[in-house]
Amino acid sequence: MADPNKVDPIHQFQITDIVSFGEGGISFTNSALFMVLSVGVIALYLLLSTQKRSLVPNRVQLVSEMLYEFVAKMVSDSAGKAGMKFFPFVFSLFMFVLVANMFGMIPFFFTFTSHIIITFALALLVFVVVIVYGLYKNGLKFLKLFVPSGVPGYVLPIVVPIEVVSFLSRPISLSVRLFANILAGHITLKVFAGFIVTLGGLGFLGWLGALLPLVMTVAITALEFLVAALQAYVFAVLTSMYINDAIHPSH
């Protein structure tokens, strides 16, 4: 294992401290750095591109407007007019996840969405917002979410626990999906890229053989860009669907 060509596909997910405050206390990690970078890039881009507010947008402004309209349509489609109240929330989540995933595609950059604690925190935020707003808006009627209409009373003892578990499983499925996609994608990419190096060490025939994983790596890179955008979209769509449940809590 003392091979210099050894490939460690997990190494890219290691969290390292950049600045630590106090002994074993809070520290500013590479994960945190990229979160700050993502937020900074989003804020800078949106602010600068919409600064002129020209009626006929230039390309940069057009991209921001398209992002805005894309998310606005998504929210109003799944949560209706009342859901537009949550547009800033969904838009922030979408942009944050999207930029984080895209940052992850740049070599040597850290992908913080590949850590389940991050995605779980995001999903939990959605979950808490849904519960709090649902209870605030509908009061106890929010609990109707767990009682499907048209179900006879004697099956309720069975149906209600099932509905409750189904509801509680949402943040988990939401976070696991994003995390697993990104983690699996990055590991696959690294492993295939590692094959190129390992095979290349075998001389001429090795180089010929290395062509196959090289082609695969290029293809998977394209696929990963797709997954990065898609997972941000899925996260945002499901968020707006859950918000829809909070606004209209009956199935």
Partner: protein, 129 residues
């Protein structure tokens, strides 16, 4: 200068008249043309992308419910000291919730991208015969 402009205006105005009069129709046509391929592209992309995506979605929905059910049962068991029983019950409830999740998301997906109807499939069936 002003006179020449005045004399020139009416013809150009007449030309602009028909030009702008069907402008609305042209915009509508262009929008329709733009939207139609856009939609087709979108749905085609959706269909291609979502194989992996749908599988992922259904899988996580199912597994998450089982994990949550078993987890709740385990915690209740720890709290009430009722042995493995509540965990077993809640595991089964978790399975049921998982199936419910899968059925719901599949219904949602079908609503978003309707499966081919009987009318669309009819030619195929005839070929089979």
């Amino acid at each position: 200068m002003a006179q020449s402009r005045n004399t020139k205006r009416p013809p150009s105005g007449e030309q602009a008249g028909p030009l702008t009069s069907d402008l609305a129709a042209r915009i509508k046509r262009a929008q329709a043309a733009e939207e139609a391929p856009g939609d087709a592209e979108m749905s085609a992309a959706n269909r291609n992308l979502s194989g992996w995506n749908r599988g992922m979605r259904l899988g996580t929905e199912f597994i998450a419910a089982i994990l949550v059910g078993a987890g709740i049962g385990y915690l209740l068991d720890l709290w009430l000291k009722t042995g493995p029983w509540l965990m077993l019950v809640m595991l089964l409830v978790g399975f049921a919730a998982g199936v419910l999740n899968v059925v719901r998301s599949a219904a949602e997906m079908n609503r978003a991208a309707p499966p081919p109807t009987a009318a669309m499939r009819a030619p195929d069936d005839e070929e089979d015969e």
